[in-house]
Symmetry: C2
Subunit: 161 residues, 2 copies
Amino acid sequence: MSSSDPVVSDADTDGLPLHQYLTYRMSRVHSKLSAQGARILRDAVGITLTQWRVIALVGAAGETRLSDLAREAALDKGLLSRNVKSLVARGLINAKQDDTDHRVQHLSLTPDGQEIFFQALPVTRRRQEWLRTDLTNEEIRVFKRVLDKLELAAERVDFSS
Amino acid sequence: MSSSDPVVSDADTDGLPLHQYLTYRMSRVHSKLSAQGARILRDAVGITLTQWRVIALVGAAGETRLSDLAREAALDKGLLSRNVKSLVARGLINAKQDDTDHRVQHLSLTPDGQEIFFQALPVTRRRQEWLRTDLTNEEIRVFKRVLDKLELAAERVDFSS
DNA sequence: CAATTTTAGTTGACCCATCAACATAATTCA
DNA sequence: TGAATTATGTTGATGGGTCAACTAAAATTG
């Protein structure tokens, strides 16, 4: 075997190994979609993707605490803390301490935050619809189901086979 | 409307907006899968996910140039350059300049690199199989098809509707 | 053949996310 | 009640990725 031969043959791999991997494919697609989403949000309302997620989650909840967001959105609480901080600094989010439990903060959108929210919402919705134009309802249903199953698999502590 | 009411009602959103978004769902699942994959590779052979991708791609190709990898794997060439550098430093990848075109480097796995490759390959394969255990062939087929369609959509320069 | 443009790869600056350590506050329980 | 545990949120260190500027080399073009 010469040094320029692939280490594995097609017979072994049925093509390039990575390209078969669901995770690899997802990773590629995800990074392209993220970049696109970030660009769209930056152009439309000047916030980052994560900031949008925070705003959207707070906007939808009306009032939440940081730890709830972290759980619900599966975001790191440190990350969340910094993002909230920057949004509070920009006057888009309101944070007020709980009267009885002095650890928790109640988060809500300020009027400016709501404005951003309502500006961004149709933009993101249109994009989502646009992404779905080439997909059938059946494909979307299966896609979501697979995502749910993969998420469960990803949460299992370990795979031992 | 009190300040603690959600800014959008369920009637508006059919539930929390973000949770409907394919991109948001993908993002969550992707980050969990990445974390899991990174952990498995670290424990098994002590390399990062990106390093594994480089090794797998080089191993499968037998010999490539950096720019081909960047195109094929949709990875930033700067990122790739650094990763290759670290893998060369660890003696896992061999880089030799082209005789005629002095810009290009030909990359291949060293014996140590091949060893890592062959150690990691079954581990990653087992994981992929394991991730698929709860999925039917039909679901996998649809999932891949949707990913391909989404990737195309993500590459379109702009959505104007 | 000289000037311009394109391509390969590197590097520095920066951003964002992750992790662990920490401070503070509340709760449990002995 | 006092001690240990648990929960909330912040912060610093670090790592990894992205972007853009840059060098060097090759190809194109006038």
